[in-house]
Symmetry: C2
Subunit: 425 residues, 2 copies
Amino acid sequence: VAGPPKKPVAIGTEPPRGMRDILPDEAELRDATAETILGVYRRYGFRRIETPALESIQLLTRGEGGENEKLIFKVLKRGEKLDLTRASSEADLVDLGLRFDLTVPLARYFANNQARLPRPLKAVQIGPVWRAERPQKGRFRQFTQCDIDILGVRSEIAEIELILATTEALTALGVADLTVRINDRRILTAMANACGFDAARHGSVFITLDKWGKLDPAQIVDELTRAGHPGHAVQRMMQVFTDFDRRRGLDALREHVKEPDGIEAIESLRRILDSVQAQDRQITFDATLVRGMSYYTGPIFEISAAGFPASIAGGGRYDRLIGGLLGHDVPATGFSIGFERVISLLAERAGGGPRRAVRVALVFDEALTDLGPVLAEARTLRAQGHDVSLEVAAKRAGPQAASLREQGFEVRWFRTPGQPAGGGT
Amino acid sequence: VAGPPKKPVAIGTEPPRGMRDILPDEAELRDATAETILGVYRRYGFRRIETPALESIQLLTRGEGGENEKLIFKVLKRGEKLDLTRASSEADLVDLGLRFDLTVPLARYFANNQARLPRPLKAVQIGPVWRAERPQKGRFRQFTQCDIDILGVRSEIAEIELILATTEALTALGVADLTVRINDRRILTAMANACGFDAARHGSVFITLDKWGKLDPAQIVDELTRAGHPGHAVQRMMQVFTDFDRRRGLDALREHVKEPDGIEAIESLRRILDSVQAQDRQITFDATLVRGMSYYTGPIFEISAAGFPASIAGGGRYDRLIGGLLGHDVPATGFSIGFERVISLLAERAGGGPRRAVRVALVFDEALTDLGPVLAEARTLRAQGHDVSLEVAAKRAGPQAASLREQGFEVRWFRTPGQPAGGGT
């Protein structure tokens, strides 16, 4: 196959920093995984939608993306819009950016197309997002997200459907021992009020609370104290959450929650817990579940799988995000599967990856003048549903056959009549 | 659903110029189309691969991309690599770009991963590419390409497989009356030599030849003459191509072709034509087929469908493209389906788009305290393969039912015992 030598290679062949080339085995696992997830979501009535990879830089930097907004790959203006001599800041140079999630584009999509979309909209999206994060093991600058969202439903039936659909999709992939944890932003707020934290500084309390279970209680106290929260509030919080009984958690918290919003949230969570448990899913209330994005307004939830450290799906209700674009609020709630985490979980398994039907390699001499019989055989086998690859016989048949078998092919030989046998070893 | 009024919307909700939001019906058609194409290609032994959307700007601007290199969406450098005060040109500002095709990334992918890839590599890719073209009807700045490539096979069996697989994929989609047209860059060169054109100016001859059939013969002569080609060569060319008999074309050209490369090309094309015809495909030699990219070195081909003006797939052999990155040549040939053209062709059909199994909407009163029976019914129907959507009953049942039926749902009602009937109209 080697041709004549060329001038030395002047360019690297690696993909850009933090990004990856996907080899055939993993690409096939990813395809099969996406197909399984989409199949389940379709059965739950979700419709597939797509938005462009690029969005206006104004949309991407409105503040809804939190820390992700610092990680945008920004696109240079083109043609006469780009004036290098007058540009004094980044803002003069860029007009577009690569999306960092699928939620901000969904809000724009809904606002732009609402007249032509079903109401309520039950949408499923799967596609790449980009974040210029410092590369590290298992974290990439381009990765796939898979989100379902229900827009236009205020009732907790939306959360119930999201949770049932997503646990069913993960189960269909063979991810076992799933646990759903659920909380509500309104309960977090009510608890922080009940403990006596300053309402303007709840965000900082939640950031620390999110580390519950990862840090020692002493470290939690330390972090809250350093952040300047009042000692009596910190003590109260430690007491409430340490006493906390996971099984009876929701009822136990009831005595602390006085405001109507919080009471409504508890009732709503109770209904979600009951309905989901009745459908044989493992779901628990977790008063320390926070989740990062500031746009959540109601129930928030995550799924974890036994033996896998991080959560593999997460989401929540964001009733006010779309209003920022549309001018009036639209109730909305969504669930996102960590597609890359699911793939690494499935790939780690012995023999992970989809098993294909019989694959056949038909190997023929290049001297064969009539390809008819080879092509006819290939056609027959393909019509039977086999994957068939035609291969020109290499000089050394042994290594060729070994390599084909390693790729999962059953090897069959077509030889020119009257030619020396060759191959078949 | 409407919440309290918000401050006026300050941002457009349209997607970026030349890009589109894809609504559910089209998204589902696209998914089903991609799945059909991939299914056929898998049966032909092609393996799915993926590369990142972003590539280094150096790779994208090496000259292999021709005019497309002028249309790159370029990405601003990040962090300390970006120094606005010292930047004097675009090159100082950008380090990455969005890919404009799938061939240049494939060459890099092969060079980067060759030790871990099957040899030969039969690869299938499907994914978006980006080009900052002036937006016009039917042309978008983000669009999907679907390419198959065979790397490492010098024999024309590679072309035969590409053509059989691609015609089968298009037929599986229901695109009827396909014709493959085929030519060879070596024949084009031999013909231009035979007519007496300057070897250094063949490119300009081919650009005009590509318009054969679209322009009058007089316009062709005019364009070639204006481009400064010698009158005797122009006259000779007009004679040869006007006399040209499409059915016996390949044999008729033989008398003009003297050089070994050209003779080899004719024999190779004859073999491809015979093998493909024997498999019941419509294929013809077209001496005026040129195709745009400069990297082609051997057979080039296109597929057109009856009643559709543009070609819907095209490709060719590019034996020297990978050598530029790898240091030695690797024989390579590929075929690209114009995915967006196929989608518009399929969407134009009456009732185009995939027909789903029975879809059922279960509509229930929000007052229903026990969701158990609704969820149980949904579970049963989904297990039977139906798509089921749970919907909260709207105040006005008639319009809700009409809208659900319009979306293809069969509507069933769940009512709270003792509540007024409502709905069902």
